[in-house]
Amino acid sequence: MAQIVLKNIRKSFGAVEVIRGVDLEIRSGEFMVFVGPSGCGKSTLLRLMAGLEDISSGDMMFDGERVNALAPSKRGIAMVFQSYALYPHMTVYENMAFGMQLAKSDADAVKTRVEAAADMLQITPYLKRLPKQLSGGQRQRVAIGRAIVRDPRVFLFDEPLSNLDAALRVATRLEIAKLHHAMNTATMVYVTHDQVEAMTLADRICVLRDGLVEQVGTPLELYENPQSLFVAGFIGSPKMNFLTGAHAARYRAETIGIRPEHLVLGTGDEAWTGTVVHSENLGSDTFVYIDIGAEEPLNMREDGTTRHKPGDTLSVKPLEGRVHRFDTAGKPIAG
């Protein structure tokens, strides 16, 4: 259990500054997700917390103690890697026990801890197997088990699900959520580029862009009150519709954004009329793309049972109070 504070953290590789001054507080026991497009520095930030990279400047505090120079093994962290990073020549048991053995822990204590972790993750039957004899999902659970055995203050996850197929990804996501509840004292930091993972797992999300923090908040805060155009476009699926020019001027804004789920059929002053160019039926929902003469067609969510053919003319309007207004700098306009 640890509170992590980052003060003006910077990291350069040669002349390239990848992290450009990050201030962030991660509360004790919190599940924090770093999300952002590739190259935003989220993985680097995690590796700086792990101690796998040197911090160029700034302070990294764990429970008030500056850990900038501390070796990874002494920070009380455990890390789960994207590629699992299991030791191929060791059995599952040996993989999980390796860290404790290096710390010269008592053999009985090692056994107890490994077995408890294996039990928790339901991998006890595989303890004697080698990683290559396991499926991808099982391997990732072993990697998580190895982290649990270390009994860390902080769990660090580096895109742990991206090597799994879609179905397994959902199952393992649930597994990690359960783990967080079971170990509610441990702080968890999780890196992903998938905003669905971020929304479903996080207590709070930190959106990163170009080495800077764009916004920090609970998933709902980010969804409802995005503090920039970037966050508005990044959080939520499908993407928010953005309108500029005359459409936005009507709302006294440079740009306005409306989520597809906040558009309904209707007429009136605020309504837009256009022709259907495409419609995607996903069973539960239908997404209708309507050309209203803006740069891109408006995407509207409807019930899965509705049918609109391309060429149909539709009038749509936003739900009351669901229009996000942004100024020229891409910042939200209050009210």
């Binding site: 990874p72 002494k74 890697f81 590629s83 191929p88 390796f98 860290g99």
Partner: protein, 276 residues
């Protein structure tokens, strides 16, 4: 249709030609080694007789068995020593960033291309000074000049390709560089170690210049020098039968090893880009 058949035939003719040229000299050496007496001086393309006389003679007269032992001992010790020094060094060269790493690798590559004659005079003096002239240690000592850069270079190439996340996992687990090498990398690298060791072994086994220069008695010579010096009763009578038998004896194990490890050797050769 006829054109395709012709092309196919020509292709297979080429394949057969390559195989025959590659293997024939060795085949002919084996053939010769089983001939005895005046049979030796009749050219035949197929085995005619089967006589072990040459082998018996090589193994029972002179110091050839001793030379074989010398070669095995010298090549083995050289390779083990080089591997021991190279494993840790190549970890440093492939996995740790430090200033001057590029230059260091360049120096190592440079040493592996050293003409051995350039150090011959200096080495001769040093070996005399150390008092190891005409002992196996003179050769073990001098062979380090080509086995060590070679093993460092090849192992560095191999180690560079090991996944970085496994090393990072070990770092998080609290492993020191020494532990990473011995308990994580070495078990993953043993095929590379075997390959590199084998290539270095072949290099040491075949070496001629140093062996010729730093030994002076029959009992301390290695196999290549011994074979080059096998002589008959008089100066003009070259014992071809014995030479061929000795050649076959020293080559069979090498050919067997190379064929067993052929895939690994090819990858090792191309990784190092170095002649074994």
């Amino acid at each position: 249709m006829a054109w395709t058949i012709l092309k196919k035939t020509a292709f297979y003719a080429l394949v057969v030609f390559i195989v025959v040229v590659a293997v024939f000299p060795f085949y002919y050496a084996i053939l010769t080694s089983f001939k005895s007496g005046t049979d030796l001086f009749r050219v035949t393309y197929w085995p005619t007789g089967f006589s072990l006389e040459n082998y018996v003679k090589v193994l029972n007269t002179g110091s050839f068995p001793q030379n074989l032992l010398n070669s095995v001992f010298i090549a083995t010790v050289t390779v083990l020593g080089a591997l021991f020094l190279a494993v840790t060094a190549s970890f440093a060269l492939s996995r740790v960033r430090f200033r001057g790493r590029g230059t260091l690798l360049m120096v190592i590559l440079g040493v592996s291309m050293f003409p051995q004659i350039a150090v011959l005079a200096g080495l001769f003096e040093l070996i005399r000074f150390l008092g190891i002239y005409n002992t196996p240690w003179a050769l073990i000592f001098s062979y380090t000049i080509f086995t060590l850069p070679f093993t460092v270079w090849v192992l560095t190439t191999f180690m560079r390709d090991l996944p970085i996340e496994i090393e990072e996992a070990a770092i998080v687990d609290g492993a020191t560089p020494w532990v990473i090498i011995t308990r994580v990398f070495m078990p993953l690298m043993w095929p590379a170690l075997v390959t590199t060791g084998l290539l270095a072994f072949i290099g040491a086994w075949n070496e001629f210049l140093f062996a010729l220069t730093f030994t002076s008695s029959n009992a301390t010579r290695t196999v290549p020098v011994a074979i080059s010096m096998l002589s008959g009763g008089s100066e003009h009578e070259i014992p071809w039968g014995n030479i061929m038998a000795a050649s076959v004896i020293v080559t069979i194990p090498l050919v067997a090893l190379v064929l067993i490890f052929q895939r690994k050797i090819i990858s090792g050769l191309t990784a190092g880009g170095v002649k074994g």
